[in-house]
């Protein structure tokens, strides 16, 4: 009898959306009888809890869904799948104050899980709802500026973010010169941002991981939804392949601004092409209760052209094949085969002389991940990962020209990693997650590799034959996180982690360009390293209606890259000779005050931060601000439900202008006035601020049809924010010079119609 008392059994299963059958990621399962005991579903909606024999009440909840309770008599291993009902689908919702205190109780910190449905209300440029634009409104995350697609996390550069779409790397997440992101929010299910504090299963970038998961598709019934806006239209079709066993989702989007350009009287505009499209596809099938396969893909392209004379098109393509397998109730396995590619092509026709430049980066990735749910105090994750990279920095082909084509000088590399991490709750109020990632990066031939001195002269050449292995860099990346619950309402968290990065984006322009160049670690370019410590305090008020957090961090950066004075980042072989290497440091404090429930929702975020580099050969080898250094960053997002079918939203952002290099003096050469520069990044762009407003009106809900109108106004008070600043001769007085600021947008209103049936 005594023995039976201590016997342990496992409850496991999936948590799904009752409406669509989609698995819910990060739904929590609590045992009401036991303080601080529970589980959360993994990226495939699976949970597993091992408890001693007894009677329990399981409480299952997920943001935006009605909480469910289930009594369980645990005397054997059991399976429980839950289907939660969406709040919005109930006609009269009485939301009781749910316990929504994951922010306090989770061990992880520096993690931001975005509510994809919240996106619909945040006003954005041209009414094109956009996950990346919304992420930029969170503390610790800064937008790259108007007209640039990148974002900066805790002082990291834009290329230090690992952007994953169904685990495939997206190398350039922006469309239309950075004004839109590649993520069509119709196709998305879950978006999580780790601010450099990711667990050991992620690696490869210093500053952050943006983990984006696509919708699996409704496996209960067919559905169509879409939207028509001023510059683009979207359509999503989803439905079961076999009811409750498999489903698909297809989403497409295309802008049609170029159609309007044709109406323009100006010749330059009339003959200009500028559009993008993208396509998301996903299908899954349950082979049996233990095995399921998923296939997903993305394809997107931007096209920019002027008649037949100039063309530039670029885009990403990804493909992911996954196999989920439950080895047993406690061991979850996921095997993934991933392909991803980014490329661009420039073509120029000059009086019949055609020139074409092609550049691409590709990788093939095989991943094996295991999650072992030992018991309610212990969870172990481990896995391996192997990536083969192929990079074509640039190939120039000329037609009708005596210069022979340069060869396809592909760069090859092989990246491997293995990791293990352990989530451990020794006490009800104390939790740890610690792990180790071991990564390696091997340079693979064929190719010639150069070492350079500081003057850009070649000091050493290494020749590798086809498939020959060159130098291998090994790195140990330990990560430790801790959560101490001071009480039910507040907690202290700490984190230390090391990250490495072996792919580097060279972008020597203030505005960024699709032609920015990815280069791999080489003999000359060493893996970038970052060590981050962070400490946070999390507190909830008013029965978890209000969340408050303050997080502070310090990062030590090694092998950071910057450019020589006046560096030319082209597709030339010696591009590495234009680079300088050194160290860096980033530190800051982030405040977030957030209200998730009620008629008024939204957040206020403030970040005070600094990021500096120290590189021999720049500013007398002293610390100087990195381009993305911004002292203050404020964002306010408010959403208010005026009436059941009317809601309004407002956002306001303010940040210190980017660091920039401006002339301090001038002189004359050959009759021309020339700017004289004294220091790198010693000046600032003017401060940036902007307010956006949006109104959403939901049409009458019918049985088979729903619709809504969204009206938004970007930059309501027409602030002229600087896009570029040029220093030039005063056109009215040639004895003077002046600084001229170009700004892109004043007020941009837009309207979008969304439908669903």
């Amino acid at each position: 009898m005594l023995n039976a008392q201590t016997k342990k059994y496992t409850i496991s299963g999936y948590v799904r959306d009752a409406g669509s059958g989609e698995e819910l990621i990060g739904a929590t399962i609590r045992i009401l009888e036991l303080e601080n005991t529970g589980a959360a579903t993994n990226a495939y909606g699976y949970y597993s809890l091992t408890l001693t024999e007894g009677e329990y009440t399981l409480s299952v909840q997920f943001v935006g869904f009605v909480r469910q309770e289930q009594k369980v008599t645990l005397s054997s291993d059991q399976k429980f799948d839950f289907e939660l009902v969406d709040n919005n689908t109930l006609s009269e919702v009485v939301i009781e104050a749910e316990r929504q205190d994951q922010n306090v109780t989770d061990i992880q910190m520096g993690v931001d899980k975005m509510d994809v449905r919240e996106l619909n209300k945040v006003p954005v440029l041209m009414g094109e709802k956009d996950i990346i634009k919304t992420i930029q409104l969170r503390p610790g995350v800064k937008n790259g500026g108007e007209g640039t697609g990148g974002f900066f996390v805790r002082g990291g550069a834009a290329d230090q973010n690992l952007i994953l779409l169904d685990e495939a790397t997206v190398y350039n997440a922006s469309h239309l010169l950075g004004f839109f992101s590649v993520f069509n929010s119709d196709a998305l299910k879950d978006v999580t941002l780790y601010k450099g504090t990711q667990p050991a299963e992620f690696g490869g970038r210093l500053a952050s991981v943006l983990d984006v998961r696509m919708k699996d598709g409704n496996n209960k019934k067919f559905g169509v939804d879409g939207g028509i806006g001023l510059i683009s239209a979207r359509l999503n079709v989803e439905g079961p392949i076999v009811k409750d066993k498999g489903s698909f989702s297809i989403s497409g989007r295309r802008t049609y601004a170029d159609v309007f350009l044709k109406l323009s009287k100006e010749d330059a505009l009339k003959n200009t092409q500028l559009y993008f499209y993208d396509l998301n596809l996903k299908a899954n099938y349950k082979i049996n209760n233990r095995n399921r396969i998923y296939l997903s893909g993305y394809f997107g392209r931007d096209v920019l052209g002027f008649r037949d004379l100039f063309g530039l098109d670029w885009g990403n393509a990804t493909g992911t094949l996954r196999w989920n397998s439950l080895v047993n109730d406690k061991l979850f396995s996921n095997t993934t085969l991933i392909f991803s590619e980014y490329n661009y092509k420039v073509s120029i026709d000059f009086s019949g002389n055609k020139a074409e430049i092609v550049s691409r980066i590709q990788n093939y990735n095989l991943k094996q991940d295991f999650q072992y749910f030992v018991n309610s105090e212990n969870k172990i994750k481990f896995g391996v990962n192997s990536i083969f990279h192929r990079i074509l920095p640039g190939k120039l082909a000329l037609e009708n020209n005596p210069i022979p084509d340069n060869k396809e000088n592909n760069r090859y590399a092989w990246e491997n990693a293995a990791y293990v991490s352990h989530e451990w709750k020794p006490l009800k109020r104390l939790g740890f997650e610690y792990g180790l990632r071991v990564s390696s990066f091997t340079i693979v031939g064929q190719g010639e590799f150069y070492d350079y001195d500081n003057d850009g002269n070649i000091t050493d050449t290494t020749r590798l034959g086809s498939s020959e292995f060159g130098k291998t860099y090994f790195n140990l990346e330990p990560r430790v996180g801790m959560n101490f619950l001071l009480s039910e309402r507040h907690s202290l968290k700490a984190f230390y982690g090391r990250n490495t990065q072996n792919l580097h984006l060279l972008s020597n322009s203030t505005t960024g360009s699709p032609t920015d160049l990815w280069i791999p670690t080489s003999y000359n370019v060493k893996p970038e390293l970052s060590d981050q410590v962070s400490l946070g305090y999390f507190r909830n008020f008013l029965n978890n209606k209000l969340e408050f957090s303050v997080e502070t961090y310090y990062k030590w950066l090694q092998n950071q890259i910057d450019y020589k004075d006046g560096a030319q980042i082209g597709i030339n072989q010696s591009v590495e000779s234009e680079l300088l290497f050194g160290t860096g440091r980033a530190y800051g404090i982030e405040f977030l005050f957030r209200k998730k429930l009620g008629k008024l929702t939204g957040w206020v975020g403030y970040t005070l931060s600094r990021v500096e580099k120290r590189i021999e050969g720049i500013n007398n080898s002293e610390y100087y601000p990195a381009r993305q250094d911004r002292t203050h960053d404020i964002s306010i997002v408010l959403m208010y439900e005026l009436a059941p079918r009317w809601s309004v939203a407002a956002t306001w952002v303010y940040y210190t202008g980017n660091a920039a290099t401006f002339p301090s003096g001038k002189y004359e050469i050959q009759g021309q006035v020339v700017n004289y520069f004294t220091e790198r990044n010693a000046y600032r762009f003017p401060d940036y601020h902007r307010m956006d407003l949006g109104i959403t009106f939901d049409g009458k809900k019918r049985k088979r049809f729903e619709s809504s109108w969204n009206l938004s106004v970007y930059n309501v008070y027409a602030r002229e924010n600087a896009f570029t600043i040029t220093f030039q001769e005063d056109p009215n007085d040639s004895s003077k010079t002046q600084a001229v600021q170009t700004s892109l947008f004043r007020i941009i209103p837009s309207i979008t119609y969304n439908f669903k049936f």
């Binding site: 200009t272 000059f350 010079t737 600084a739 001229v740 600021q741 700004s743």
Partner: protein, 261 residues
């Protein structure tokens, strides 16, 4: 190339999205005035001159102070040496030294506790074979192709200066034989805006043979003048040691004139 694409993208995006420009006030630091050197010697008869001026703060007017009382010495690889005479404030001229292709010239300047030095070998001149008038973008505009035979024995660098109806233009046009050593080379020169080629225009092309240091100087000077979107704008690569603003160029000169039909 990549810079040109960026500039194009930039101009397209400013056309696409209702862009607006305005003059702004930026508080720029004062700078300690720095010496600026403009020194030329060529294979045409002297006197050759060296001009010394100083930088001013950005917000000052374009009046650049001259520098007097410097000791400016010009010497060549044949052992000739001459101290230049300050003819007007800031302008130092030669009387003896001759510009001969193939010789290496050295400039020494002693000024305000500074000792600046630069050496430059004057290249052998290259004649222009022909100037062709061509049509671009299917007849949208006309441009010139300068055809000349490159010397296979040397790495060559060229600069072209346009003189339109007697007015010398300031733009910097460069060429190198890096990819076309020893070949019959063609360099294209473009004429935009009010400089667009019209029938009857008399166009003189002055061709300079320059050394690598001056090619790099002019290339980076051109970037500074045309700005673009570089995030790391910087002063041109200096041919002086220690680093100073300006240049010392020993170049050969050839010319050809055409009348636009």
């Amino acid at each position: 190339m990549s810079n040109k694409i960026q500039t194009l993208i930039l101009s397209l995006s400013t056309i696409m999205f209702v862009a607006c420009e305005k003059v702004i006030d930026i508080d720029l630091n004062d700078v300690e005035p720095k010496i600026v050197v403009e020194a030329n010697i060529d294979d045409i008869e002297g006197p050759y001159q060296v001009k010394l001026t100083k930088t001013v703060n950005y917000n000052q007017s374009n009046m650049f102070p001259t520098v007097s009382d410097a000791v400016v010495t010009l010497s060549d690889s044949e052992g000739n040496t001459e101290v230049l005479v300050e003819s007007v404030p800031g302008i130092y001229v030669s009387t003896l030294i001759e510009g001969v292709p193939g010789r290496t010239y050295t400039l020494d300047i002693e000024v305000e506790d500074l000792l600046l030095k630069s050496s430059c070998k004057m290249p052998i001149p290259t004649e222009i074979d022909t100037i062709l008038v061509e049509e671009g973008f299917f007849g949208a505009f006309r441009y010139l192709s300068i055809v000349f035979q490159d010397d296979p024995a040397e790495q060559n660098y060229y600069r072209f200066i346009k003189v339109i109806n007697g007015i010398t233009k300031k733009d910097i046009n460069l060429a190198t034989d890096q990819l076309t050593n020893g070949e019959l080379m063609t360099s294209s020169l473009f004429f935009f805006g009010s400089d667009s080629l019209k029938s009857g225009d008399e166009i003189e092309i002055i061709m300079h043979g320059i050394d690598k240091a001056n090619y790099d100087y002019l290339r980076t000077l051109n970037e500074v003048i045309n700005q673009g979107v570089s995030a790391t704008p910087a002063n041109p690569i200096s041919p002086f040691s220690p680093v100073a603003l300006g240049y010392f160029s020993a170049h050969s000169v050839t010319r050809k004139t055409i009348i636009i039909p």
